[in-house]
């Protein structure tokens, strides 16, 4: 697992987070929350584009042709595999996973790699409002199940205590390793992570998850542009 692998993982997760946020732009509990879901979705889709744009300057773009046909080659957390059916799932992702991605981006900005230092800094300003949104909704109380799942997947995203993410920290490329990132997330959310037992032997260092599976067919089709083609006039189909 190299630094470009990690950046691609953040990018894929931001892309999926943005899409899942956008799905709630007309289903949230209030008009303001609808608008916030749409705005945060656009922010995260924009962030993913910036992150994808960092891959070439980093020297090795890990994206291969399999991404065109195999949903399992995308590096998103399992939390984004299926559309969310409950507002609690939205809030847990917004408060915990979005903040976990921000913590990883902070680690990139605080590291020694110039392209990440410069290009990712603005994201941190925009993410402040995602954090305020998530934390406020979290305080209003949500179901336990999505909350615990989001914590577990955030810890999996940070990686094992002595894995390659920690090596990137020791090399100075990241300013925080998995342990510091977890502490930072807990400080931000003013909450301790629940006790989770993760079998790191089952952890996929490329996709940063232990669960098998991939995003649903409809979402993958949309990412590939297939859904747009389905509704296009016959002459436009290629």
């Amino acid at each position: 697992m190299s630094l470009p692998d990690l950046v691609l993982s953040i990018a894929d997760n931001k892309q999926m987070l943005g899409l899942r946020y956008a799905e709630w732009a007309t289903r949230a509990p209030s008009l303001e929350a609808d608008i916030a879901a749409a705005a945060m979705g656009l922010d995260d889709l924009g962030h993913s584009r910036v992150l994808y744009g960092c891959l070439e300057p980093l020297g090795a773009d890990p994206r291969g042709p399999e991404r065109e046909s195999d949903a399992g080659s995308l590096r998103n957390l399992a939390y984004f595999d299926q559309p969310w059916s409950e507002w609690s799932q939205f809030v847990a992702a917004n408060a915990i996973l979005d903040t976990a991605f921000t913590v990883m981006i902070e680690a990139c900005v605080g590291g020694s790699v110039e392209v990440l230092q410069h290009r990712l800094r603005k994201m941190l300003m925009e993410e402040r409002y995602h954090f305020l949104h998530g934390r406020s909704w979290l305080r209003s109380g949500i179901d336990k199940e999505p909350l615990e799942r989001a914590w577990r997947e955030a810890i999996e995203f940070f990686g094992p205590p002595d894995g390659e993410t920690e090596t990137l920290r020791r090399d100075g490329k990241l300013s925080m390793g998995p342990a510091q990132q977890r502490t930072r997330l807990e400080e931000q959310l003013e909450a301790r992570a629940p006790r989770v037992d993760i079998d790191w032997r089952a952890w996929d260092p490329i996709r940063r998850r232990t669960a098998r599976g991939a995003i649903d067919e409809h979402t993958f089709g949309m990412l590939r542009g297939l859904e747009e083609k389905k509704y296009a006039p016959t002459a436009a189909k290629g």
Binding site: E32, I35, A38, A39, Y129, L132, H133, S136
Partner: protein
């Protein structure tokens, strides 16, 4: 709209949103949001009124605005 109209219900609070595009402009009212706390109100204000490149944005609880007089009273 009657003068007694309120957008809020329950614990929600109405906030006025102010912004300006440059330092030489004065802050002016650009709209309002309804939220149960200041954090969410900031997130909503930024999401709702972010279509312009504001150099400054601020929110204030509507109940904290001290009215001197209303339309028709001057």
């Amino acid at each position: 709209m009657t003068s007694g109209y309120k957008r809020v219900s329950g614990d929600a609070v109405e906030y006025e949103v102010f912004a300006r595009k440059s330092r030489v402009d004065a802050l002016h009212l650009v709209g309002s949001v309804v939220a149960p706390d200041d954090d969410l109100a900031m997130a909503y204000a930024r999401a709702t009124y972010d279509e312009e490149r504001w150099c400054e944005m601020a929110i204030v609880r509507k109940e904290h605005v001290i009215e001197l007089w209303q339309p028709g009273e001057a």
